[in-house]
């Protein structure tokens, strides 16, 4: 009897322990959110969106970095999504796993995912800014961030593609479908929710990056909105960093305001991906 009691006690204890660990993360998050909302919310008004940055906190806004971030993230996804999903499809569906080359590629992609972002910045400066001559433009920034998030998209897409049940594939092949038909009709629709989840994480990462963009020469003061991918730009995280190092405390609150907008932008991007994901998930069922 006592043995049973002891086992049940341990069971309950473990339950509480894992609950507390979950609570810990949530607690930190809510403190962070509370702190940011407390400092930043009062600064968010219409002018905050329509004004460029200023040396006077009450006149400063995020017009340039907001547009810069939207430009950067859109162009980055246009490059990163097809290339990433394409690579994952090749690696999972077409390449021969036993070949050394495939193994080397797979190993390298996983390693790339762990490379510090500033290294990608130096690479982007060398290749896109100087060698290809794109200058310190949105295009250079987006391509650099594409390199940065490609490994994340590839690895998560690979996992999603791997999770497609063998029976489905075999069923399709048994009906005489070609590889392309299987990819198009079975693999992609089934794995799309997973692929989209990975892409959400990748967008989040790209949206928050500062270091590589500073390296490739994103500017900090800019009082016009970029009109093409060859224009100069700044992004929200760069503006946040700049404001938070100012001596005046009002700018620190302003930085919190910009963080709120960054979070909303992030949630918006995530929401779109989640809606898309649910749409495809439901269709499969």
């Amino acid at each position: 009897m006592s043995n049973v009691k002891k086992r049940k006690l341990i069971d309950k204890g473990f339950h509480i322990l894992v609950f507390l660990t979950t609570l810990f993360g949530l607690l930190i998050l809510s403190i962070l959110l509370f702190d940011i909302l407390k400092d930043g919310l009062k600064w968010i008004n219409i002018e905050f969106f329509t004004n460029f940055t200023s040396r006077f906190a009450e006149k400063a806004g995020i017009r340039a970095p907001l547009f810069g971030s939207i430009w950067i993230i859109t162009i980055t996804m246009i490059f990163a999504f097809p290339i990433g999903v394409g690579s994952a499809l090749y690696l999972e569906e077409y390449s021969d796993d036993k070949k050394i080359l495939t193994k080397i590629i797979k190993l390298n992609i996983s390693n790339l995912a762990g490379v510090p972002s500033i290294v990608f910045g130096i690479l982007g400066l060398g290749i896109f800014v100087n060698f290809l001559g794109f200058g310190r433009s949105i295009l250079s920034g987006a391509l650099t961030l594409t390199l940065l998030i490609l490994p994340i998209i590839i690895v998560s897409s690979q996992e999603a593609i791997k999770s497609v049940p063998k029976e489905l594939r075999h069923g399709a092949y048994a009906l005489g479908a070609t590889k392309w038909q299987v990819v198009k009709g079975v693999v992609l629709p089934y794995s799309l929710p997973g692929i989209l989840t990975g892409s959400i994480l990748a967008i989040a990462r790209a949206l928050g990056e500062t270091a590589p963009l500073i390296i490739i020469g994103a500017v900090t003061f800019i009082a016009f909105i970029p009109e093409s991918i060859f224009d100069k730009f700044t992004t929200l995280p760069m503006q946040v960093y700049n404001w938070s190092t100012m001596p005046q405390t009002e700018f620190h609150d302003l930085a919190a305001g910009a963080i709120i907008i960054l979070l909303i932008l992030l949630l918006g991007a995530n929401a779109v991906a989640i809606i898309l994901r649910n749409k495809y998930q439901n269709r499969i069922k």
């Binding site: 040396r55 006077f56 097809p82 290809l132 500073i214 001596p247």
Partner: protein
Amino acid sequence: MKKIVSLLVVLILSVSVFVGCETEGEEKSNDTKKSEELSGSIEIDGSSTVYPITMAVAEEFQIGHEDTEVTVGVSGTGGGMKRFTIGETNISNASREIKEEEAEIAEENGIEFTRLTVALDGISVVVNSNNDWADDITVEELKKIWEPNSSVKKWSDINSNWPEEEIKLYGPGTDSGTFDYFTEAIVGESGATRTDFTASEDDNVLVQGVAGDEYALGYFGYAYYEENKDKLKALSIDGVEPTPENIGSEKYTPLARPIFIYVNNDHYKNKSQVKEFVDYYLNNGKSIVPSTGYVALTEERYEEELNKLKELGTK
């Protein structure tokens, strides 16, 4: 299923459109470089210390010059010089003088430049506001504290009347221009310092550190002291307090530190928008600089700087 395919097709198409753009873009970017000169872009990069001043000037300049496009980056003095000495930027913000190596690169590339002093910063030596023993410190005492292998461990090691408590030191990191200037002016050699102090590139961290420790001593730019006067106390150096007046008249020696911009002579002569901007900078420095937390030069000093440019002449 068809939707997925069409989605993919759209994505692939958009990518190929962009790839097409890229090659076109290369030609275009050359074209736009030329037309940009006419429409008036002014490219500035460099020190983050100088950034608030140049940004403030750019902000005012853009009002009434809406067709010009001023951009200011913060690559650091060194990073900015790299771009300036190959002619990529028109103006470089610098919190120190150009280095010999950098000047050599500029010469190799045929870049001639003019150094202009645009403002002053008084590096402030600060202690906690609860510190009731120290009000003044001499340059020798500062040297004794900060020199490499310093023997100063306690406040009483500096002055026997001061408490026998451990002194906690805060200072900018080695990448900072403030650090270079302070070590040069106080220790006598740029970069020479004791190493057992709390260093941060973010001056707000230093402010927090000194504000939270009764036995702390630190140094950073005047703007950060001015914004935190309620939490900090600045020491006078050899009897001179760091006030805007004393810094502006350069009485606050040796820690009144000049803030520079470097202007590409050729761009100044041949690009009207660059000339406009630099002239505007020096003509309005007196009124704009104080709003950034830095100290403006005297009227005469701005005149002197303007005269340097007059000798260049314009086409």
